[in-house]
Symmetry: C2
Subunit: 417 residues, 2 copies
């Protein structure tokens, strides 16, 4: 490991120890000061961003990539407001999660504590620098941020503001550090845990980034590789509700992980429901790739290939299939889904409960759109992402999910017989 | 991967899916039937155990190892009773952990669900086969058990009883499978996650086994490498209480992970407390390795070397050191401890709260023995081990800790604006 990365890790560990004991007021003061510094340094940040954009212009980058890299005054204000919103969240640290007494008189409490040091690996999206730094701070964790090299000047300018805010509040600037090198080996070192100084990695970005992190990380990772979300329209569904939810789940925003990629229709209502649902989507500009039954319902439906059932389009395209009731729908979801978010539309309570109980996804919904898969919509406030792993954090990862716990036992001299 | 291991994983996955939906009554019926089969087949199990012991006799094995491998009628009865005790525990699956409504009327519930498939890798202790199998079953998880090769005949005989019990209750025998080969490559395949079929690994055994699992596993692991537990005797401690707790923490059972390995004494009471505490331990047959101050208090104290502070003796030996108050005690614990279990003895509430708050260990105690670090003592019932990792399970791992959760959202047609 390079001396630079080693030092970064040791500093983060020391900062995390102090930060775990910081008061709510102190953390919130830092978050508000960070927001003020971002506002005050808007010009500096835009100048740095212009440097990154100029360098990006000489490369052959996608316009969506350049758009995400681009800052403007309203995006800078959104970063500042985002930090103030995080200040407004309830402090997740120190809450008593459970408390009970033992027959021998000992009192056992389970108390929320920060995880420690969190490594965030992300692409060239400047807002992640502020968001992730703020969420880690609020949850009492030190952050090591490693953004994409194309946004490095912008990230540096933002980090300077975050560290100034920490300093204003009497907290160590080492609580939010960035990896200043664009050397990709630094990511590898983070994924190895940086000599035991990183407790958790959160990747933010596209499938390639997340796949690399999942494959190489030697420390726990909160992530999702893809959101292959399904809406199953049951024979007992209200057709108007089904049309509205399918349309929203697919088309509200097609690029988010909670957007539906496959619609499953119960064959018992194929005759009456298929065509109106297809029309609703096509009228909204959505391409449909369907099985034979779906194709026969509307000639605008293109044939689906086997790989369509496991394709996350993140676009105005959806796959559609007729299934034999809720059992076959659940079999399809288990086979092709990504355990992210799946919804059933039905007026039959028993069918709904079966689906909610048996589908093994982080989020399962009844009569609601998959696009609610979002920490804000859960009432968590800002989130750092959605996790589809099984342990610790599943679904939206907000500040509470960035804490862990310890047991405190208060005795009066108890010894064990 | 071998076909055999691949098949094992696929069967476990299918069994886990069914088991997640099994009723509490069905799981408990299986546990009780398993206990009955173990009792009924005691002779068969003892015969198998005799084979293992005969093979072990030809090797140069430690007597403690052979003792753990050895079964007798009372140990067999203890296995059966253990399974019945697990049947008596509350079912952790399906409980509503949190529930709230959103302003748009959606109801969100966080529901406990099984993790899925758990791999247990352990040494030649036949009782782990029954314990781990029972705990996984109760928590709705399928288990893949891989015990030490020296106990393979005994494990096979026990597994036969467990599977017969599953069958009696109408559950698939694949819910508890064992790796029948003694090929060590099978362990490597389990640590890789067995083609995505294993969700979690729990190692049960000595430091070498746990270290290998931690180093190689590509799936989450619940484990602790060692229990370097401390008792800090503060200047405000009641001396009689301190003597009793130190003695219990070290000497009740020296071979358990919650036994104390280092005693820290506040220098403010070194003159009065050191000698009586040393005497208490020495009278109980404990060897003491101390720093200069401890040595000067009693000539029976041997000098401690630097490595003593990080040695888990698991024996009637303890290291002892004089520290400058609670701060230096906590610095010592942070430097040398294993984040397992640490205790402070003091009558000063503020000092106690500081210690409970700032020591970053799974279990922190005030005026109680470190030997309470045990799932049974927490009221969890049987445990599968103690975890010192930061995420999901920390401290005793009982049936609740072997579950995860999902979000169920109940709507009435909500779409996201």
């Amino acid at each position: 490991m390079t001396t630079e990365m080693n030092t970064l890790g040791l500093r983060a560990r020391a900062a995390a120890k102090a930060l775990a004991q910081a008061s709510t007021d102190q953390k919130n003061a830092a978050l508000r000061a960070m927001a003020q510094h971002i506002r005050a340094e808007a010009t500096t940040i835009l100048t740095a961003n212009a440097k990154d954009l100029a360098a990006a212009a000489s490369k052959d980058l996608k316009s969506s990539f350049v758009d995400r890299l681009t800052l403007n005054p309203s995006r800078i204000e959104a970063m500042a407001t985002g930090l103030e919103d995080i200040a407004g969240l309830k402090d997740p640290v120190g809450r008593v999660m459970e408390k009970w007494a033992r027959p021998n008189g000992m009192e056992i409490s389970r108390i929320a504590v920060p995880v420690g040091v969190i490594g965030i690996i992300y692409e060239s999206r400047p807002n992640v620098t502020a968001d992730a730094g703020g969420l880690c701070l609020k949850s009492g964790n030190a952050a090591i941020l490693r953004g994409g090299s194309d946004g490095i000047e912008t990230s540096k300018a933002i980090i300077t503001c975050l560290q100034a805010g920490l300093d204003d509040a009497g907290l160590s600037p080492d609580a939010i550090q960035m990896v200043a090198t664009s050397d990709r080996a630094a990511v590898g070192e983070m994924l190895q845990g940086l000599n035991g100084t990183i407790d958790l990695i959160v990747p933010r970005g596209g499938k390639n980034l997340v796949a690399r992190v999942q494959a190489e990380a030697r420390v726990p990772v909160f992530s999702h590789l893809e959101g292959l979300c399904h809406v199953y329209v049951d024979k007992d569904a209200d057709l108007d509700m089904a049309k509205a939810i399918v349309l929203n789940a697919k088309m509200r925003r097609t690029g988010v992980c909670g957007s539906a990629e496959t619609i499953l229709i119960d064959q018992a209502i194929a005759n009456t429901a298929l065509e109106p649902i297809i029309r609703t989507l096509i009228d909204a500009g959505c391409e449909i790739r369907g099985d034979a039954a779906t194709q026969s319902a509307d000639k605008a439906v293109k044939p689906a290939a086997e790989e369509d059932w496991s394709t996350e389009y993140l676009d105005a395209i959806v796959s559609m299939r007729v299934v034999n009731g809720v059992e076959e729908a659940m079999t399809h979801i288990a086979k092709y889904g990504s355990q992210h978010t799946d919804s059933i539309i039905t007026a039959n309570a028993a069918t709904a409960e079966k689906f909610l109980r048996e589908v093994d996804s982080a989020i399962v919904l009844h009569n609601a759109s998959t696009q609610f898969a979002d920490g804000g919509e859960f009432g968590f406030g800002a989130e750092i992402g959605i996790a589809t792993g099984k342990l610790h954090a599943r679904g939206p990862v907000g500040v509470e999910q960035l804490t862990t716990f310890k047991y405190q036992i208060r005795g009066t001299g108890q010894i064990r017989p």
